[in-house]
Amino acid sequence: MAETMLKITDLVSSYGNIKALKGISLEINKGEIVSLLGANGAGKSTLMKSILGMVKIESGSIKFKDTELVGKKSHEIVPMGISLVPEGRKIFIDVSVEENLNIGTFFRKRPAARDKELRDMVYEVFPRLYERRTQLGGTLSGGEQQMLAVGRAIMSDPQLLMLDEPSMGLAPLVIAEVFNVIKKINEMGITVLLVEQNAKMALKISNRAYLMNTGQIVVSGTGEDFLQSDVLTSVYLGGKKE
């Protein structure tokens, strides 16, 4: 049995008065790519933000290896080795590409040599970022900004990388490229939690997946299981099989 990286038990989170997560339990093992699927409003992004300590948690537990994350703030959680590439990318538009990448290194304590190693790795995976390293973040195209956001997350040397809708708003060719990169990142030994509307593409690279609906987990299984069953179509099209 693989080593557990993240174990969430009966997690309940709320946004204001709305309960966004109603008792979520899931596990991510070291080295896996795990997908979170589900329609809009299912609570996928909330789950990621909960892991990062950005949402009010009512009850339940989030264990990262042996550390309880519930009650910790994001500035305490990020340095432990958890990074989020948020939906809509959120790169810093008025600083250069290189500086954006540097920001990723701010909150992880490690030798300076590791920074260089990671930077070389990012530039190797995204040669385009190297070409544009002196440009301002805001001048990049949507696809390049996504790569910058992913690159910045890699710079923080995460053990667990969470990606929220990395393909959103991108052209099909660029999407394929993004998924290739996710696979590459995983091969570097980084565990990945992926939220994706593009369920088919996500499942193809995932070891396992969880399907969420209105704040709960409906089904879980391997990527293969999902691709072969009709549970996806039924949930995305609204009707849930009893």
Partner: protein
């Protein structure tokens, strides 16, 4: 005469700039002008004066005045604005205006309303070059302001904690996701802004006397300077402050001293009419 007036303008202008920098920093963090900025300046100035009158050396008084102002800035953010920020924009506006009134009235009770002499940190002797006279005060004020603003620029662009402050102010959620402690950064922004205001007040008071109503006139000019240069922009605040100072000096010398305070706003209206974003800002921000 002209050169002399420009020098006077530069002196006042660099003080407006120092105030405007604080306005602009807090604006970026809060999304709104801090109407208590001038009052924090005034309180810092009077605390310095109080310690000096108690017999402490001027430099001790200055240090204590600046530190008190910074603490006042911290408290303003921590105790009031942080909680109000999540309710509504109007509440936030009223909150800073309210703090402004409380500080001003408290100051009137404690220190009275009459202007008081304030010691200068610079020697009084005039430096004469031909028929041209410079006071050490002018040179000192201009140099200190420029050094502080340049230092801040360095701090915000080269020092990690300064960069984090910038990130936290421009995109709080994104910064938090990167691991920036946004709460601390906001706290620090208010503290630095308030400390700068106190330093400005301490340099203004020897020229204008320490008076409780300095908070209103200087505070408004700081807003005007920050908006003129482009709100949220550090160099804009510097440029705006200096333009205001020079326009004011030339206006009072060649037109009429009666309209001294009006010149700043006339130039502000003209610039906003031509370039609504202020001189150095490119696009209109969504914040008010």
């Amino acid at each position: 005469m002209l050169f002399q007036q420009i020098l006077n303008g530069l002196t006042n202008g660099s003080l407006y700039a120092l105030m405007a920098v604080g306005v602009t920093m807090v604006y970026k963090s809060l999304g709104m002008l801090n109407f208590a900025h001038g009052d924090i300046m005034m309180v810092g100035t009077f605390i310095t004066l109080t310690f000096v009158l108690m017999g402490y050396p001027l430099y001790v008084g200055i240090a204590l005045g600046v530190i008190s102002a910074a603490i006042l800035g911290f408290l303003l953010e921590r105790a009031i604005l942080r909680k109000v920020k999540f309710t509504s924009f109007v509440n936030l506006l009223i909150a800073t205006v309210g703090v402004s009134y409380v500080l001003r009235n408290a100051a009137m009770v404690i220190w009275g309303t009459s202007p008081q002499l304030f010691p200068s940190m610079f020697p009084e002797t005039l430096i004469e070059i031909g028929n041209f006279r410079i006071t050490p005060q002018s040179i000192g004020v201009i140099l200190i302001s420029l050094v502080i603003i340049t230092g801040l620029h360095f701090f915000f662009t080269k020092v990690k904690i300064g960069k984090c402050m910038q990130l936290a102010n421009s995109d709080p959620e994104g910064a938090a996701m990167m691991g920036v402690n946004v709460t601390h950064m906001r706290f620090l922004t208010f503290g630095i802004s308030a400390a700068l205001a106190a330093i400005a007040g301490i340099m203004i008071a020897p020229m204008t006397y320490a008076r409780v109503d300095m908070s209103a006139t200087i505070g408004m000019k700081a807003f005007a300077a920050a908006i003129l240069g482009g709100i949220g922009n550090l160099w804009g605040a510097l440029l705006g402050g200096i333009i205001l100072g020079i326009v004011e000096a030339l206006g009072s010398a060649y037109i009429s001293t009666a309209y001294r305070d009006a010149f700043s706003f006339i130039i502000l209206f003209i610039v906003l009419f031509v370039k609504p974003t202020g001189l150095l800002n490119k696009k209109i921000e969504n914040k008010l």
